[in-house]
Amino acid sequence: MSKKGVNIKIDELKTDVGFIKNLQLSFGKLVAETWTEPMGPTPFPSLTALREWDFKLLQRYKPFYLPYCDVCCLCTFGKCDLTGDKRGACGINMSAQQSRIVLLACCIGAATHIGHARHLLEHLIEKFGHNYPLDVGGLNIKVEAPVTRLVCGVKPETLGDLEEVLDYVETQVTHLLSVAHTGQEGSNLDFESKVLHAGMVDHVGMEVADIAQIAAYGFPKADPEAPLVDLGYGTINVEKPVILCIGHNVVPSIGIIDYMKDNGHDGEIEVCGLCCTAHDITRYYKRGKIIGPISWQLRFIRSGVPDVVVLDEQCVRADSFFEAQRIKAPVIVASEKNCMGLPNRTNDPADAIVEDLLNGKAPGALILDPEKVGEVAVKLALKVAPLRKKFKVIPEVDEVIQRAKECRQCNDCRRACPQDLHIPEAIKAAATGNLAKLADLYELCVGCGRCEHACPVGLTVHSFIVKAGEKKLKEETYKVRAGRGAIQDVEIRNVGSPIVLGEIPGVVAVVGCSNYPKGGQEVAEICTEFANRRFIVVTSGCSAMSAAMYKNEEGKTPYEYFTGEFTSGCLVNVGSCVSNSHIAGAAIKIANIFAKRNLRANYEEIADYILNRVGAVGVAWGAYSQKAASIASGFWRLGVPVIVGPHGIKYRRMLLGRADREEDWYVYDARTGEKVYVGPTPEHLFYTAETKEEAMVMIAKLCMRPNDTMKGRAIKLTHYIDLHKRLYGTMPEDIHLFVRTIADVPVTMKDEIVKILEEKGWKETVIPDPTLLPRLIRKKKE
């Protein structure tokens, strides 16, 4: 770590005690520089430092805007009608306005992770000290913070070192957010560049959060054999008191687990979680249980099972407090970002808080001390559980049938449903005593509850669906591998060459939220398909949970039959949302460890390397949050394309290549300076797929890179063609764009493909040493 702290310079100062001249003082870091790698061109990059790189990407992957509506309503000049090419009162047009909204979303996402990181780090420094070492994998991880090293040009060694990294990213987010103010940026492309900047700093923030908690809490340290842990409603022993934690910041949950262990209650209480906190609970405590993704919040609270509900931050339903009240479960809110209107009891004695929550004097409490959260939650759970036995909100079958008879078949529930589920038909059948159609909706429902708010007669439609699917709910017992954290350097060394040369057909990162078009099964299918095809498959967050909710004929979940090692044919759960940084980190480490490219503040070169050589694709099949948007934009700037599910089209713009425009697909050959056509590889940077089938074909296609060797390209083409034939029922029409020489053609399909090449007038080209950066050309052409 080389960055200094505060510098004070006094030229002249006269005081009562004397006269000071030319005094210079430095406070803060005086840590010796231990990183010998030369500093690259862009340490702590400003908003415009990487603008040229961004414009290269945006020239090829032009934004296609898909506005939600015609107006801008951000300031009091408006509302302004921006239909077509109209400009608003501030002068902005629709393209810029849409990219401004994307920037806002990404700033929210980045700020969320960075704010989380700051809270976490402050707590850990208070508990463990500034000098606590950042061990995230022992000797297996020499590049402990690849994203931070790449972006900031510093090598953090202790928790204290991370503070300065956060100083930088917080500053950047403030600047970025100010860009969205009325009367600032006017160019959509500059907005887009800043979107990419937001994503980049988001990845730094995520990395800070995860390496700090891995080091301090002893989470699995880059462990391919991280333990298999329980997932699903059915894994909860409802006979025990149940504490449910929801959110992303694990600190209060750790307070609970520590208090429980320290006071002899380990094993007496079920500690379970929803969303990313759940991942981090199981990284800390093997007996912890994951209920499921964010979309399980409503159904699990309504089941009546939780005795105490603890809310921290991010992805917590805003009505979870009210839902918990309905099942008489006391609520503890543990984050200053999510106070839910509850009184601040942080300074009150724990027993007094327990008493008030137990006797119903207060339905909930805000407690900002995680240790006190632990004490209150455990004591409360032990006392409240016996009082809550047999309490249910999910209606009984008879009640569902009776209430279903009140349905007017007005369709309002269906029109409110983001999935357009055929709810009225199912209610109609339920009124006759047949709950089968409602049960069919269980796996398709994303658990938003909009149907209930739309119902004019107040039917609790979501509860009806959960009741009908209760059998499935109770049978949800799965195994997921606890989040392992980073990828080991040796794993990178083992797979770097086959990835870069194309012999491992690709790295597929299945990440993001659970806004799935047809239920979570599709996530499991995507993961399984590509792991079986010997791709490297990594997961995180809610998608990592959904990937587990599927069993083969032997009753095993994908995490049980695929390896947790980062290698061909694996299924690797890196962990919670902030662990996404390890996926970007793995791509960066391939460039650094395998290809020996300098990492330090050398962003453009590394991103150029990844774009042209590392066949990685992000898939966020259920992406819906602002954090998902910023995570994706961090991947785009690194040259990793991202596919989202159909709801992802509501992110308002795509970054799409045009395969039909030959001029867009030239790179420099770094050996000669020649410009070489490399085909649309990868064709898109941000893309939404209408169906799972389309996504799967596109995953295989987007893994192709200009640098693929002939053998590698043949392998990748084999997967692309095979999936296309199976899922589309036909040959792809663009094979000729990906064949550089005849040796690229898969041997088993040679005759068929050569015939197509001849029909398309295909001509052979060369395989370059590809780059988009003229400064990397080793011998310039005269």
Partner: protein
């Protein structure tokens, strides 16, 4: 039903689709167009209308009106099973992205399209694609053939029953049987 967006929260803004009250109008607009295109989404295979699938009606329309078809998602094989070869198949975001390019030579290479008909996409995908076209393809008119109101189209049917939907599509197709293009 009234011309309200099918999804209740989908409020477009000042410019909303004109409501098609008579299906004959759609037929007339197709006839008037110089180079229309029909984009068929995957739900056309899942949607059954009057013992036929929506895709079958679209094939009938495309053949009679001589409209080039783009199949989106993975449903190209469903067209081939029915012995019909669409002019192209591509992801819906790709066809949308090409349609905003005034210089694009069309799915069949015969020049820019002046009318795009959409059917069978998930509602929220169709509304966003139509919105992109409304704002960024000024020379293109759009019509949705779905039975739900799409406010971002140039013209849309209101929310209608399946029975009326089939009838509307039948009328459009019959107009071509009577006069052709």
């Amino acid at each position: 039903m009234a011309a309200e967006p099918w999804q209740t929260a989908e409020i477009p803004g000042p410019k909303k689709a004109l409501v098609v009250t008579k299906p004959e109008v759609v037929a007339a607009m197709i006839k008037k167009a110089k180079h229309p295109i029909l984009v068929v989404g995957h739900k056309a295979v899942e949607t059954e209308l009057d013992k036929k699938k929506l895709i079958d009606l679209m094939i009938e329309l495309a053949k009679k009106a001589k409209i080039p078809v783009v199949a989106t998602a993975h449903i190209i094989s469903e067209f081939h099973k029915r012995k019909y070869k669409p002019a192209g198949f591509m992801p819906v975001v790709d066809i949308g992205n090409r349609l905003v390019d005034a210089e694009w030579s069309g799915i069949d290479g015969k020049g820019p399209h002046d009318l795009a008909l959409f059917v069978g996409l998930p509602y929220y995908m169709e509304w966003t694609i139509l919105s992109g076209l409304k704002h960024f393809a000024p020379n293109l008119k759009t019509i949705t053939l779905d039975n739900v109101y799409h406010p971002h189209a140039s013209w849309s049917f209101p929310n209608t029953s399946v029975k009326d939907w089939v009838e509307n599509l039948r009328v459009i197709i019959e107009k071509f049987e009577e006069g052709g293009k």
